[in-house]
């Protein structure tokens, strides 16, 4: 891991996460789309995990969740727990599979949103929130996942743009190597 890159990653990541959390609270939460609000925080955590790995993804998830719980006076630790798991799993996906497809952020964003929304609802029910389990709730979750899927690609582009230059050398080098290797296998190019 490149020391300069990793040292600039944390403050950049912290600032970016802080801005995104307050953007979520101040803007996105007040703009319902089809009756639901987009959740850019879960996308942020997922994409940080996808870019930086499981450890940073889990830590970012914990921090973002804690910030949300503190700022919104929610049950402390609830969002942290859910986002920690989301960040970790997305990081593990990068570490184990390293998917490079153009639709990877879309799928990861949708999956992270679904896990986040279902997980949060499940935790609330386990904590005894007095709300009926209904098809309406299910519909809201599905709509939320769809809305998040729509904004996943722009959010991915933004996250990568902010963090790319501060990323450790390893992921960037691996991406370059993969491109080179693919090019080397082309029958049109002589070795």
């Amino acid at each position: 891991m490149n020391g300069a890159a990793s040292s600039s990653l944390l403050p950049r990541l912290a600032g970016f996460a802080f801005i995104i959390v307050f953007f979520q609270i101040g803007v996105v939460s007040e703009l319902p789309v089809f009756g639901v609000n987009a959740d850019v925080c879960s996308l942020l955590v997922a994409f940080v995990g996808l870019l930086c790995g499981s450890t940073i993804g889990a830590a970012t998830g914990f921090a973002v969740g804690l910030l949300i719980d503190l700022a919104l006076l929610q049950t402390l630790g609830l969002s942290s727990l859910v986002f920690t798991l989301v960040g970790y799993w997305c990081g593990r996906l990068r570490e184990l599979r390293d998917p490079q497809g153009p639709l990877t952020p879309l799928v990861v964003g949708a999956a992270a949103s679904a896990v986040s929304l279902f997980g949060y609802s499940l935790m609330e029910f386990m904590l005894g929130v007095d709300a009926p389990v209904s098809f309406e709730l299910l519909g809201q979750i599905v709509l939320g996942v769809l809305v998040n899927t729509v904004i996943a690609l722009p959010m991915w582009a933004l996250t990568r743009r902010v963090l790319d230059s501060a990323l450790p050398e390893d992921p960037r080098r691996r991406r370059r190597r993969r491109s080179y290797t693919t090019g080397g296998l082309s029958p049109l190019i002589k070795p």
């Binding site: 789309v33 499981s54 889990a58 402390l76 942290s80 920690t84």
Partner: protein, 305 residues
Amino acid sequence: MVLGLLVVLSLLLLTAYFGEAHNGRLHGVQRDFLAVVSPIQDGANKALKPVRDLFGWFGDTLHAKTQRNELLKQNEQLRRELVANEAEKRNYHQLASLYHLDQLGVNDYHPVTATVVGKNPDLWYQTVNIDKGESAGIRVNDPVINGEGLVGRVATVVPDGAEVDLITDSSMGVSARIGANAATGLLQPKVGEPNDLLLQYLPANYRPNPGEYVVTSGTVSNEESLYPPGILIGRVTSVNEESAYESVNVHPLANLHNLDIVQVLTAGARTRPANLSSLAASLSAAQSTTTTNTGEQLASTKVGE
């Protein structure tokens, strides 16, 4: 390792927060944090307001058409309800007028119940004969009603009988108004359809609704009419497009083909209705050879003088 630590930390926070009272330490930390970030949140809220407004504008625009259609439907429904309520209100006033004749100036009249003893079969002269006459206090031009509404007026009187011109007779003309509105006009038989009436000379641009009740107005050119106000005559069937003036077709409520018992509203001696009746009668006699004006019009002309 890190995952386990963060999960355990989250669970500890969750357990501690969930278990403590509202004035507990973690709640206090949360409140302190909110106090710190509140100005930031406020500033961010203000700074991001244009962004929010921009997104909100797009959202509002997307929803505007749907909302407009819904509101149009709602407006249409409310308009229908309003019209129905207005019609019911007018009906109520009509019925109230009918059942409270005493308050409408009928006190000056003494109803004399009479039996219809003869009917004129001629299409152009819609008259009936009754078995009460001058000896019962009946005079020429006295209004005749039955339980359903206005029937006509006394045209000729003899000591023990009288001839009544029905409202569908060509010589008739009654000052009438539609429902509780101020729209008054002259009600006359409809040419070519002797069983229907035509309310003419209504105010310009007045559009009555079919089904509205037509009652006697009680006034002619701001003077008293021969007929007391509020007596039901008929219902509006349609707007007459053929007439040069604003007019509507009216179907009489009284079944004029099956009259058995009627009431003649006789006026007491020296009362205002009696004076009006005698005045109209004298004018009718004097001018009947030179004009086709109705008694109602003649009376109004003289009263106007």
